[in-house]
Amino acid sequence: MNKRLITGAFALLMPVMAWAGEYDLTVDRVTIDTGDFKKQGIGYNGASPGPVLKFKEGEDVVINVTNNLDEMTSIHWHGLILPFEQDGVPGISFPGIAPGETFTYRFPIVQAGTYWFHSHSGFQEPNGAYGAIVIEPEGREPFRYDRDYVVQLTDKHPHSGDRIMRNLKMSADYYNRQQQTVGDFFDESGEKGFVATLRDRMMWGDMRMMKADIEDVQGFTGLINGKGPEQNWTGLFKPGERVRLRFINSSAMTYFDIRIPGLKMTVVQADGNNVRPVSVDEFRIGVAETYDVIVHIRDEEAYTIFAESMGRSGYARGTLAPSEGMVAAVPELRDAPMLTMADMAGHMDHGDMDHGSMNHGAMNDDTMDHSAMNQESMNQGDMDHSAHGGGMPEDPFYASGSGLLPTASNGGKFLSYADLRAQSPLFEEREPTREIEMRLTGNMERYEWSINGIKYEDADPIVLQYGERVRFKFVNETMMTHPMHLHGMWSILDVGAGKWNPIKHVISVAPATTVYMETEVDAPGEWAFHCHLSYHAASGMFRKIVVEGGPDSSVAEGEQSGKQGGES
């Protein structure tokens, strides 16, 4: 207490010096009202989502987290580069924060951009324990805007996280209300013929897989900054302004396709790192990703921010308006996509099904390989134009013929990973020292998820050496999309652009695709690495990473982070 006062006084007196910003967070039981339902949950400083934490690049932050729950808690600073003891993963970074305890996080802010924070304990995050982080850069940004808003999305469900996990284990399709029905069968028979439809159903039935298996957990209400579609979060602007929207997907399970009908969005940042601006009509945000976009609004009109879930079972909605109360039309949800045999290709190890798009050899070739991706009919030599290539849209980050391949609702440009280029690379370009293959594996029927067929509880940690540059090869053998998140170190997504490859903290891997990322192993200690879908991570799609060697970590880190234990 005393110390805090002194720090506060010091800060007041010396505003220009590099100073330790001190922040207090309480972890509380809160009521979450989505407009559709009210639900007890967990929040910060009495609300869910918690406050937007505004840091400055270069400052040392001190964050006092008081646990007012009757269970352990933790806060993970998602995407922040910091000493591993400050990373907030119970059992890896620290023991966690006991009920009634105040834990003090201390770390330097060494980056800028849009990030977020959330509990890494149990299912507290799906239950509401998340908030946003905005870090102001030291230098000038390579784009300009007049005002900015955090647009933090989540998929709030009326069931608690524990209950959802348990239900999924009892019945993996518990929440799936988009399964194909008798009516669908006859509709499809009318279009494609009875025999063709029957064969299609037999093929999927033979595998015991569902085409409609895109979202494990339906029945949620999409929230923007804690507000449901009816409550309509609204950001105000003056006509002529450039507005920066900091989209953060804090969902437990849901990918969103985001558009603002009537406005082009210029993507300027992905996962906190500046990218070369790309103008798009729509983009897909994976779970735990962030995208910053700038919209230039000329007219005195309201615009709807419309975020449809990837499986079209729900949506979040907000509004940009020149004055409070103005609204624009809210679009209808588009038809739910269906998985295709192409999305299933990674799953089948015996596959000789007589389906056109199921060329197993081509599937196993990595999708980043230019020759492999171009051999499929399209003649675009450059990935930049992949979505403009006329005819059927292609995206190297989806299996060829995938049912998940997104298209913009207005027929315009849909952002692809292939469009992302780092604005200013953080690392020297160099050859990776080794490659680590990670097959993303699972059993949908049992709701078990794993890496290389092994669940976390049975797995040894992955040991990396400080100073390595590791190339991770993700091979998605499931029919779900997995947002893979490495703590503590950057994930350099290989889009085939060499030193301009974008730098991220979440890499989304679509079904039946292979995606590469490289990591400069520059952070000693122990880190978590997992699928960011809450119920996949908790089912075993998780690993501990141990970084050995490096500067005498105990001394160097200890100095920066202060005491390691639970300081109360």
Binding site: P90, S121, H159, S171, T181, E457, Y535
Partner: protein
């Protein structure tokens, strides 16, 4: 003799489950970051049956489980309460351990205790349960009674989605005995079949789904003779009304 076998099965099952994963390196996060133990209670059938011969039955069939992906302990219960006699015509309790043997199949082993009105029986159970291609849910068990009699039952169920909430489920059950156990009305060979068709509506999530349906029960061969001798029927049509519950 069979009781010894039962406990041997149980022991072997537990041993496999615990021996399988060698303890990987101590890592406390495996506890904090993994959801490991689960439980569930459900009743597939909780219904009233009215037969074409004015017989009235209350039927319950369900289970409760606790366990992990690798090993579950399951209590299965089934009973038919006969209104006219104010008595349990059948009453079964099974306690089994269940382990996965394939992506879609689990093996079960344990004990079944029948305590209906009339003579009791204890059985050793060895079963297979899972999902067959084309979405047929299958459950089949071998029973060996304390009298030394062996029997096999087989159940299949298929769900047809009229919509995502209106569901027709078709079920088939049969029992085959390898030897006669006259005391409890079991003849050698095919004993009985039961075919059911139920239309349900998912009222609250998947926790409560009321249904109506029809069930056709038939007894065969020696079993039918035994039923006739004791004044029972060998062929019944039932109208059923009930609910499926799952917690």
């Amino acid at each position: 003799m069979s009781r010894v076998m039962v406990s041997m099965w149980g022991f072997a099952l537990a041993a496999t489950a615990f021996a399988a994963p060698a303890f990987a390196q101590e890592d406390p996060a495996k506890k904090t970051q993994t959801a490991k133990n689960f439980w569930g209670v459900s009743a597939e059938k909780l219904e009233y049956r009215y037969s074409d011969s004015d017989e009235e039955l209350a039927v319950i069939e369900g289970d409760a489980y606790y366990g992990t992906d690798e090993l579950k302990f399951r209590w299965l219960f089934a009973g038919e309460w006969e209104e006219a006699h104010n008595a349990w015509e059948t009453l079964e309790n099974q306690f089994v351990g269940q382990v996965p043997v394939d992506d879609f199949w689990d093996a079960k082993a344990g004990v079944r205790i029948d305590t209906p009105e009339g003579p009791d029986r204890v059985y050793g159970v060895l079963g297979l349960t899972g999902l067959a291609p084309y979405w047929f849910e299958i459950d089949t068990n071998l029973y060996i009674s304390d009298e030394g009699d062996a029997s096999v039952d087989f159940e299949a169920e298929y769900e047809l989605l009229i919509t995502n909430y209106w569901i027709v489920s078709a079920s088939f059950e049969s029992l085959v005995a390898f030897s006669e156990d006259q005391e409890i009305g079991v003849g050698k060979g095919l004993n009985s079949t039961e075919v059911g068709l139920r239309l349900s509506y998912d009222l609250i999530d998947r926790s409560l789904a009321p249904y109506v349906g029809v069930v056709y029960e038939r007894k065969y061969g020696d079993t039918a003779d035994l039923a006739r001798d004791s004044g029972g029927s060998t062929e019944d049509w039932f109208a059923v009304v009930g609910a499926r519950v799952m917690f």
